[in-house]
């Protein structure tokens, strides 16, 4: 699975930060096989709609090891996207705890949570979510702006990220000038550019034909393999999950189905 049909890869350079440098070596997972990237403890997310309470996520406890590629599966409305948003720090749990590298997101201040979204996780969406009026390079630069990365360092980082997804030739194009697959690759480059340790993908193939979808998953698997990035992917396509993910977690009505919350 980690063997990519796409030839030799350039490996992103370690940035000197201890915890992170391990993530960029090719042999990360074998170095620290037991370190936990994400752990949830009885996490719940409830919405109140008028009189009734909707339990989108209901007491989920799971653990994802560093460098693991996990698929979150479930029918629509099962709570898998809500769970992903909670891990991403876009949403806050109603109860329970979510640990990313040991730090509880539920206890973080809004500013710390923004930092978590900026530095620790990278997100990829079903509908790509590129800003239509910016070029690819500008879209990819956006997380660097938000993370206040030095301006002189940015062009190199943007180029590096776009090279990794094989789009460096099209960096001045606007998203609308690209195919769906290319747009999703650009979105992946944007998710990688800040060198996060966790990649969260919400139905990344949902808007793509099956061939392009496979291409994207190959790319994600390659990133998982070569960079040792932890990947959590939400999907409802079980065959794809079986082919690419190391482990599948099933959700129904906001609860885990079967005891596969532990690695």
């Amino acid at each position: 699975m980690t063997k990519s049909p796409l030839g030799p890869r350039k490996i992103l350079q370690p940035d000197g930060c201890g915890a992170r440098s391990s993530m960029f070596g090719a042999t990360v997972s074998s170095e620290q096989p037991n370190s936990t990237a994400i752990r949830t403890a009885g996490v719940s997310r409830h919405y109140t709609m008028g009189e009734s309470v909707i339990r989108a996520v209901d007491g989920v406890s799971l653990e994802v090891r560093s460098g693991e590629f996990v698929a979150l599966l479930g029918s629509s409305g099962s709570g898998k996207s809500t769970l992903l948003n909670l891990i991403a720090g876009l949403d806050r749990p109603s109860a329970g705890a979510i640990y990313a590298h040991g730090r509880d997101l539920a206890q973080m201040s809004p500013l710390e949570l923004a930092k978590h979204r900026s530095r620790t996780v990278g997100m990829v969406f079903q509908s790509f979510n590129l800003l239509p009026r910016m070029s690819l390079a500008e879209n990819v630069e956006l997380p660097l702006r938000l993370a206040e990365v030095d301006r002189r360092e940015r062009p190199g980082r943007v180029r590096e990220a776009l090279e990794r997804v094989r789009l460096s030739a099209r960096m001045d194009h606007r998203p609308s000038e690209l195919s769906g697959g290319e747009q999703q690759r650009a979105a992946i480059a944007r998710a990688l550019v800040n060198r996060p340790t966790i990649l969260l993908a919400d139905e990344p193939t949902g808007n793509l034909d099956s061939h392009t979808g496979e291409e994207i998953l190959n790319l994600i698997a390659e990133i998982n393999g070569s960079l040792g990035m932890t990947v959590v992917m939400v999907t409802h396509e079980r065959p794809l999950a079986e082919r690419y993910a190391q482990r599948q977690i099933f959700l129904a009505d906001g609860k885990l189905v079967g005891g596969n919350g532990e690695p």
Binding site: L90, R117, S118, N129, L142, L146
Partner: protein, 450 residues
């Protein structure tokens, strides 16, 4: 997010909804323009009027008299006489006052009765000395002929009514000669056997004077419409003017000299006019002269109430101008609230990529700020142009009325700076609500929004 990135993204976002943002910015521009136009006219009018008043020479002059001048007519005041000796307004005092800071010149008021002969017809007139600085005064703007060629030339300027008395066609008098007959004061030497100083001399000796008739020929160089500086502290009522130094040289007997004739003190001035470098310095100079022991008068207080009137006028004009800016600021609120609705998804994406609430807030704030700044700059330019146009229109009207052109419009640098700052502040305040609303947007909801 860093400031550079913030402004970059903000101006980028502004370019995206070009038309709407241009219209909003124009709205602010028009608001600022109305403010600038109103205030520039107010300031210009003030400058015009205070400039004219300053040129009358009334507001930058302190009139000095001895404490005795009004005190000892009639019975002497007991208390004052006992308290401190009264300082005479003599040559020494004049030199001392001239040495004070911000004093441009000190000159005595010289007026004397004289007989003027033109074509052998004698007329009794009061002649007044004019200081060289009077040249700048407004009354001499419309002079026929010219001002004195020097401060001591044997020349005269006549008021037009008097000139008409002399000649039916007053302008034909220019260049002609007039004979001035006056009574000269000749100081007497000490009588034989007297001591060196007279008994009550305070400074210098004065053994009295004799009065001798004299004559001087004066060339008529100029004719003026109005009497320069009539009323208090001016040059008294007079229709014949000669250079001040000439008047001093003639040493004619003045109206107040009768009192001098009875005393043996050194000659004193009845009053001195002290010209100050600017009207604003008048109170300080006045205070210093008072400390020297003299009475002072100035029209500074009158000028103060004039300034007050203009301050009220300016704030009225400013309030009306600001009203337009307030309306324009509602345009900013509207534009930014619309932008939030339109850019919901974008805000969600930014948050997913790591933007904090503060980043989003600052982004909208920066957009409001950029619009305010551009609108402010635009408005100052526009207001400047409107002010000029109004000034031009008024001058066309003045020309039709055969009046001289005037500048009733001024845009001082403080007005430019404060108008732009004001526009920026108003825009930022207008951006407060939209910015906090955008920051509060739930990213999960925003990303779901199609």
């Amino acid at each position: 997010m860093k400031f550079v990135d913030l402004t970059e993204l903000a101006s980028r976002n502004l370019r995206e909804a070009m038309l709407r943002n241009i219209l909003t910015t124009l709205g602010i521009g028009v608001g600022v323009a109305s403010l600038v136009a109103m205030l520039s006219l107010g300031v210009g009018l003030q400058e015009l009027l205070s400039g004219r008043l300053e040129r009358t020479g009334l507001f930058d002059t302190v009139y000095v008299a001895s404490r005795r001048a009004f005190g000892d007519v009639g019975r002497p005041r007991k208390a004052q006489a006992a308290a401190e000796p009264i300082r005479p307004l003599d040559e020494a005092a004049r030199t001392e006052i001239a040495g004070l800071a911000n004093v441009v010149e000190v000159y005595p008021e010289i007026r004397f009765p004289a007989e003027l002969r033109y074509e052998d017809a004698p007329r009794m007139m009061t002649v007044a000395g004019l200081p060289e600085s009077a040249r700048q005064r407004e009354v001499f703007d419309g002079i026929k002929g010219a001002f004195f060629t020097s401060a001591s030339a044997d020349e005269t300027i006549l008021q037009i009514e008097f000139a008409r008395d002399l000649e039916q066609e007053p302008l034909s008098l220019l260049g002609k000669e007039l004979v001035l007959r006056y009574a000269e004061r000749q100081p007497l030497a000490a009588p034989a056997g007297a001591s060196a100083t007279p008994p009550d001399a305070e400074g210098g000796a004065n053994w009295g004077f004799s009065v001798v008739p004299r004559e001087v020929k004066l060339r008529i160089v100029g004719i003026v419409e109005t009497e320069p500086g009539s009323g208090f502290g001016g040059f008294g009522r007079s229709r014949v003017f000669i250079p001040l130094q000439l008047a001093q040289r003639l040493s004619s007997v003045q109206f107040g000299d009768l009192r001098q004739a009875m005393r043996t003190t050194a000659p004193e001035y009845i009053s001195l006019s002290v010209r100050v470098s600017s009207a604003g310095q008048v109170p300080a100079v006045q205070e210093q002269i008072k400390k020297l022991g003299f009475q002072t008068f100035s029209l500074h207080d009158a000028a103060k109430s004039l300034r007050l009137a203009f301050a009220v006028l300016d704030s009225f004009l400013g309030a009306f101008g600001s009203l337009a800016l307030a309306v324009a600021s509602l345009g900013i609120v509207n534009t930014l609230v619309m932008a939030i609705l339109e850019r919901r998804r974008e805000i969600g994406i930014l948050k997913a990529l790591g933007a904090s609430d503060r980043d989003v807030k600052q982004l909208f704030f920066a957009e409001a700020g950029v619009m305010g700044l551009l609108g402010g700059v635009l408005g100052v330019g526009l207001g400047w142009a409107i002010g000029r146009a109004i000034n031009f229109g008024i001058n066309v009207y003045l020309k039709r009325q055969e009046l001289p052109p005037q500048t009733i419009w001024a845009v001082p640098w403080w007005l430019v700076v404060s108008a732009i700052t004001f526009a920026l502040l108003v825009s930022l305040v207008a951006g407060l609500y939209p910015a906090s609303r955008a920051a509060k947007l739930d990213p999960v909801q925003a990303l779901r929004y199609e």
